[in-house]
């Protein structure tokens, strides 16, 4: 077990290192020279040279690369071209906002998905089952900005039930996380983005849960539980659902990777001050230090979550660790 975890940890670090290196290559080597944003070609030649030296751009590429890696590790991620704020400071504020929204969205997806999945397998081939499949697939086919726009148009513009965006009313930034969570205005604002994210990912756990339930329901021990005369609901939820859950956990690792991406659209749509919105804004305004830092942070999130779900999976299903080559 320990060996397996250590190996995964090593892979995780290698992946992170590779992602960081690709990022360095992208931002340094591409034709759309990033430095043009700061060092204008209109400047005096000598001034340009001096500025390049100040940024370390006169050094050979490999040296720049080493400096880059050192800065990454020591958390010196540079300053924004636009606001001159430290990139790490900007990101650390945004990080928790993203995590909050992601967590509430995934909670909704998993609760509804697993619940509906059980019921759909139970009432298999009923209108409920068909309706669940079709609705799930339609919401999965609709990119989140379409669902989000629809919700905005109906719930906010037409009915006026929810605010159109943001995380708290303008000018009322809470002191800390607890202050934020105690604000009713915050809860009003998290509803629509949560539904948007939740509905988008609903189909996956729902259909997987349904299928693995159907598989489990065919096995002998369910037959036995039924023969014992247990209530159908007890058989479904206590006996069958427990084993069927494993399939959903496997899926979770794929889902979290996508969830981080979906975040980008939803945050931009609902002006949620998270990393996804920051990513879009900084890329659009060519604020490269921020774009690079945000990308790296999102990658760390994806890689870390993948590691966590792998770990969780091997914990739930001990058979996995028997294979010396990790998960196949």
């Amino acid at each position: 077990m320990l060996e397996y975890v250590l190996r995964r940890l090593l892979y995780m670090l290698i992946t992170l290192f590779a992602v960081a290196s690709i990022l360095f290559l992208l931002f340094r080597m591409l034709p759309g020279e990033a430095t043009l944003q700061v060092i204008s070609p209109a400047m005096d030649e000598a001034v340009q040279q001096r500025m390049k030296a100040a940024f370390g751009l006169d050094k050979p590429v490999w040296h720049q690369y080493l400096i880059y890696l050192k800065n990454l590790v020591s958390l010196e991620w540079g300053r924004s071209f636009v606001s001159a704020q430290e990139v790490t400071a900007i990101i650390s504020y945004r990080f928790w906002n993203t995590l909050l929204l992601m967590a509430s969205g995934l909670c909704m997806t998993l609760t509804l998905g697993i619940g509906f999945g059980i019921v759909m397998a139970w009432k298999r081939n009923s209108p409920l089952d068909v309706a669940g499949t079709v609705i799930g697939l339609i919401f999965q086919a609709a990119p989140p900005f379409i669902t989000g726009l629809l919700l905005l148009m109906i719930m906010s513009y037409r009915l006026g039930l929810f605010p159109t965006g943001g995380m708290y009313p303008p000018g009322e930034r809470p002191e800390n996380l607890i202050g934020l969570l105690l604000m009713p205005a915050f809860w009003e604002r998290i509803v629509l983005p949560t539904i948007t994210v939740g509905m988008y990912y609903l189909a996956t756990p729902m259909l997987v849960m349904r299928d693995s339930m159907l598989e489990v329901l065919g096995s002998d021990y369910i037959e036995l539980a039924r023969a014992k005369g247990l209530k159908p609901s007890t058989v479904m939820f206590r006996h069958a659902a427990r084993n069927a859950l494993l399939g959903v956990v496997t899926l979770a690792s794929i889902m979290v990777g996508f969830a981080v991406g979906g975040q980008v659209v939803v945050e931009s749509l609902f002006s949620w001050p998270g990393m996804g919105q920051l990513m879009v804004e900084s890329a659009a305004s060519h604020d490269y230090p921020v774009a690079q830092g945000t990308f790296l942070m999102l990658a760390i999130l994806v890689i870390g979550l993948n590691f966590l779900t792998d770990f969780l999976y091997s914990y739930l299903d001990p058979r996995i660790t028997v294979s010396s080559e990790g998960i196949k």
Binding site: Y11, I14, T15, L16, A18, V19, I22, L26, F27, L30, G32, R124, L137, I138, Q140, A141, A142, P143, P144, F145, I146, L149, L150, L152, M153, Y157, D211, L214, G257, F258, V260, G261, G262, V264, V265, S268, G276, M279, V280, A283, A284, H286, A291, T294, F295, L298, A299, L301, V302, I303, N306, K328
Partner: protein
């Protein structure tokens, strides 16, 4: 001799097409999906002849008044934008862009993914290790941010959008096809082919490939659907090609104009098209899912 083999190849292709047509049409949902896809394709091909107006022309109604933000009517079947552009014409031309991006990036990505999966799964060992670690690295990339960063660095042009999508989207198909290849590789007919002295190339493409084909087509449909969603999302966030119009781009214009409160028709048409196309692709792919995974058929 050569003529005969060519004739055989044609018969084979015809039989293959018939077979796949049957797979898709045997299921009502996937048959409907196929119908919609064909309609979209026809619209995309003949777009310039179908669209009644220039998509970037300010329209005036029959009484000569500037047609800004008109709801659907006989003259403007899908209404107009705040600048008086005809949404029907925009939608028709956007169909072309969206289908082009979807099919080109979906097609290239499945080519890359399938080959990497086949080679990695067939050879195993060092080659497999290298290719799969590389795929793992791609899995560490957050999907949409990766595409946004690439587009913002390369430039907002159609070919760069396709490139960005292709570069990341093949990862899933590579993994899945590798797994399938490994399981097929262990069957007896592969050992028999090896014993007959078939080259690796022949074994991979003549013996293994036909067996992973349903799975490959399933993921081809997924990749196209994913490309469409991705292009729409990137366009909506302002990372689309400014020169050509796409469904996502139409919604971006709506969002930018701030007319979301009033112009429901501007929202409706492109949204319905995106959802319809992606759902159709998903339903068609479900027909292949049943072939690729026969256990599902019983249910």
């Amino acid at each position: 001799m050569a003529a005969k083999t060519r004739g055989n190849a044609l018969v084979n292709i015809k039989r293959l097409l018939q077979e796949h047509y049957q797979i898709i049409t045997s299921n009502r949902l996937s048959a409907t999906g196929l119908l919609f896809i064909v309609i979209f394709m026809v619209v995309a091909i003949f777009a310039p002849w179908i669209a009644p107006n220039d998509p970037w022309e300010m329209m005036y109604d029959s009484s000569g008044e500037f047609a800004s933000l008109r709801s659907p009517s006989w003259q403007f079947p899908l209404g107009t934008t705040h600048l008086g552009y005809d949404l029907f014409s925009q939608l028709i031309l956007a169909t072309r862009t969206t289908l082009l991006i979807g099919s080109v990036s979906g097609g290239i990505s499945i080519l890359i993914g399938a080959n990497i999966g086949l080679i990695s799964g067939y050879y195993g060992g060092k080659i497999d290790e290298v290719l799969m670690r590389f795929t793992d690295i791609l899995y560490g990339m957050p999907f949409l941010p990766f595409i946004i960063v690439l587009i913002s660095l390369f430039g907002r042009r159609l070919e760069f959008i396709i490139l960005a999508i292709v570069l990341i989207i093949w990862r899933t198909s590579a993994r899945v096809i590798r797994a399938q290849t490994i399981s097929i590789k262990q069957r007896q007919f592969i050992a028999a082919a090896k014993a007959r002295g078939c080259s690796d190339f022949r074994i991979i493409y003549r013996h293994i490939l036909p067996n992973v084909l349903p799975l490959l087509l399933l993921y081809a449909a997924f990749n196209i659907a994913w490309s469409v969603i991705t292009e729409a999302s990137a366009s909506f966030l302002g990372f689309g090609d400014g020169e050509t119009i796409s469904w996502g781009g139409m919604l971006y214009e709506l969002w930018l104009s701030g007319k979301t409160r009033v112009a429901w028709w501007w929202f409706a048409a492109p949204s319905i098209c995106i959802v319809l196309l992606v759902t159709s692709l998903v339903f068609v792919s479900r027909a292949y899912e049943e072939v690729a995974n026969p256990r599902l058929r019983k249910r």
